[in-house]
Amino acid sequence: MLNLIHMNLYRMAKTKSLWSCMLSMVFFCIFSCYMVSIDYEMHHAPNAQTVGQENEQSGIVGVYEGADAGEPESTFGITVQVPEKENGEMPAFLEFYNSDLASGIILLFLSIGCVIYFNGEQKSGFLKNIAGQTRHKSCIFLSKIVANMLYILVALLIYGVTQFIALQLILKGYGPIRFGTEYLSETFLLLLANFVLYLAFLGGISLITTVTKSTAVGITVGIMAACGLPATFGVYMEKLLHVTIVKYLVTTNMHQLLIGAPQKNVLFALGTGTISAAVYYFLATVYFTRKDIV
């Protein structure tokens, strides 16, 4: 198992398409920061109404409440909730960071990279070289979970560093951006929940890619799912069949993970992510072990 993990890590480092995905994510992060600056220009314009004022009128307070997290997500696409302070103060970096993580934008790039990586071994035929000589075929698949974990961690790190630098440069006209050390402990919990949800999401995408053996199908499903298509279907199912699935979806839970989110929501997301990841990886491992290598 350790040998296979070692092999996967070496291959990850050598796979250019994974780094291309990361680079695209970096560009998107910079673009996102630029859009934040436009949002703030609009908010600071004469006659602009702050979120604080809006919340006061609607009786809700804080960043989390501003995200309308209580309602099931039914819109298709990725929306980054720009954090706003009631007093108009510039939010801290960690608020921006958590807001972006909850939007699912990183997931979009992660799912593309994951599909390319998972299917690469199958498409190149390299699997034939190792599958026979590996005692337990399940280890080949399970070792990729570690690769997924590392890929997520690297993505979270790169996104954070890029966003921190980009915000400092792009929003410097609004004064220095604070790091937000007061949110550090909360961020650790949110990061853990996000990490588990991302891992579960990639588990689902890995399962689809393993079964279909198609990069195109894997990427399409990954993008659609990251954009919230299952949630859209879930809302319809809820209305038509009265079956509640939306709150158990990975993306729905991920959208809740903003600074200020109630702890029970974060813990629920953590639980949902853990169970989803276990189920997806178990199914994929069983399928991978039983299928013939072609």
Binding site: R11, F126, K128, N129, I130, Q133
Partner: protein, 300 residues
Amino acid sequence: MEYVVDTKALTKQYGRHKAVDRVSLHIRRGEIYGFIGRNGAGKTTFMKMISGLSTPTSGELALFGASGKEAAKHHSRIGNLIEQPGLYEGMGAKENLHLKCLALGIHAHGYEESLLQTVGLHDTGKKKVKQFSLGMKQRLGIAMALAGRPDLLILDEPVNGLDPQGIAEIRELLLKLKTEKNMTILISSHILEELYKVADTFGIIHKGVLIQELSKEELDQKCSEYTEIKTPNTEMACPVIEQMGYRNYRVISSDTIHIYDTAIEIGALNMALAKAGCMVESLQVVQDKLEEYFLHLTKD
């Protein structure tokens, strides 16, 4: 007799189609086993089952003397090159080999270089596999199969795409592996004459069924000897052949007759044909080679 591979009624079925049908095959330790069959005969499917890449639908498979679940433990002793070499096109030869070595837990310094040297790819440098010729990819595939010093090497069409020199080099390599490392090799190839040069035992598979398994000596005995007459007057020649007492003959084409009777008196036959006014272009004793024998066996 110790068999490295011993199968009993091994079967692989896809839906209603039996790709491999009750194959009972035996490969002795240290021999080169030539596996012959047309495209789609079931060679690759059989090799995949032996390699552990595919699960048999029914039948028994014994590897290195162990059968049942114990046999699966010996899959790690089998190196394979099945169908096209499985390589990452964006990586070089050494990187691909390094990946396989990492998976097998081999960290010996210079091991990858020695394998590349063995297959003649030591000078590829940082060249990507996508820039390799088909023959180079095939050689790298063999090097990948050799990683981990397997006791049984399974090679499916390993000389595909190789030039004559490359084929000769691979032949030398296989013989060297057999003699120096006592490696057992299961090899399939469309180039039957080439297979004949290296294999000790042959298995002929047709439509999923192993129709014959025989040693090289047995094959040589079975490959029939016949006398070939080339003449434009085959109609005139036939009565002469019969008059001389040869009954086992066949008119192959408008100008070729094969006589399968043994102890032919070539001189007398030539004289008799000439006296009958039959122009003989050539008269010679020919021995069937593997290809003829294979075609004869797999004739539908």
